[in-house]
């Protein structure tokens, strides 16, 4: 692991340990009170989910047209993080919704579109796991299609939704939430980078091991 990894990991752990205090110091949101605090984990998770998706998509396109294994490793690691942070988002969301609005699920545009995109990411992982040899290129194709699909998912869910009006929409963020929110975003971003680095390194080691096996054969 590179030199910066361990200190960064310690910093990240410290930041997460600090988050409850930082969040507690934020003012109460007017309508929902204490429950709103979950937002400080929910929003950064959602942003990391989005980041993972974009990284995976871009790396997949580069892999498809260059066949460079590095891009493939990036795409796979990013896909796993997309699934992880997506899961966090999709769990914290309903928890919040239940307390705030009394329902577990709302067919809100963003929520539904996130669910569908998350499922595409899960499909990517299933393909990598069970697709057998040569599934790298296939997965890259899937990721590309998934990425291209996002606007269509949004538009179709949005107009579908207007037939079934939702009970509420995600509220806008009051300005005074700024500080604690950015702190949490920074913590999550650091976590993302650390996990990404670990995961990519695992694949690099695997590739190196394969190369060693191959060279033994010479």
């Amino acid at each position: 692991m590179p030199k910066w990894f361990q200190p960064a990991a310690i910093v990240c752990a410290a930041m997460f340990a600090a988050t409850p205090f930082v969040i507690a110091s934020a003012p109460f949101e007017s309508t929902m009170g204490l429950v709103f605090k979950i937002f400080f984990y929910h929003m950064p998770s959602a942003w990391m989910f989005l980041l993972g998706g974009i990284v995976c998509g871009v790396a997949s396109v580069r892999y498809l047209f260059s066949s460079d294994a590095r891009h493939d490793r990036t795409a796979w690691a990013a896909a796993e993080l997309t699934v992880l942070f997506g899961l966090l988002t999709l769990v914290t969301g309903p928890l919040w919704a239940r307390k705030a609005w009394g329902t577990w699920w709302v067919w809100d545009v963003r929520v539904t579109a996130s669910l569908v995109s998350w499922m595409i990411a899960v499909a990517y992982l299933l393909l990598r796991r069970y697709g057998g040899p040569g599934s790298e290129k296939l997965a890259a194709g899937l990721a590309l299609f998934g990425m291209a699909n996002v606007p269509f998912i949004y538009i179709s869910v949005n107009y579908w939704r207007t037939i079934h009006p939702a009970t509420s929409v995600v509220p806008t963020l009051p300005v005074s939430m700024g500080g604690p929110l950015w702190f949490c975003v920074a913590s999550f971003l650091l976590l993302f980078v650390l996990l990404f680095k670990m995961r990519v390194r695992l694949e690099e080691q695997r590739a190196r091991l394969d190369a060693v096996y191959l060279s033994l054969d010479e």
Binding site: F65, G131, L138, G141, A148
Partner: protein
Amino acid sequence: MFIRAVWLILRKDLTVEVRSGEIAYTTLFFAVSCILIFAFALVRDGRAPEDGAAGLLWIAIAFAGTLALGRAFERERQAETLRALLMAPAARPAVYLGKLLGIVALLVGVEAVLVPLVALLFEARAMLAHPVWLAGILAAGTIGFASVGTLFAAMLIRARTRDVLLPVLLYPVIVPVMIAAVRGTAVLLQPEFDAQVAAFWLALLATFDVVFVTLALWTFEPVMTD
């Protein structure tokens, strides 16, 4: 030359299918069975669920289409003929396009039976009142489904778990197609037909088709080469 290759492949697929009938008959029968199961499950006291016909039609098309895709490419796998096609000097995307058109033709044939059946069983005869719109939505939706499905099925041809992976990969990606197709068809069932809404869904489907067929043509070669 590209067009000629596409035509040759399409004609070959249609000839093979006409001779053996395997995919057409089994897909059709499966689709009808689906509809029947839906009917048994959902028709209560002899009354069909109000808005259900559109959704059920497209679910049946999606399931039957997945089956047909699997079988169509399984056939190419058997004598490794897909390899022979890729070896030909024709541009490789021509192979994709030829296969796509073949699948669409097959599904349109299945839909020709399914639509009247659904209209009948679910008291949705209103669906047939605007045949041009219906045909448009069926065509655009089928092409959208098949555009992604053909690429994925071709990609998976050498994977061992291809049968289960095809729906796993395909269904999340075609969610917009399903939404647009179902909503578009449902509009036809409303007492007052709203042409504007129907046009919106049709336009969305058409855009999806153009974008994804283009993407598939672009990525077919890199995805299929080792």
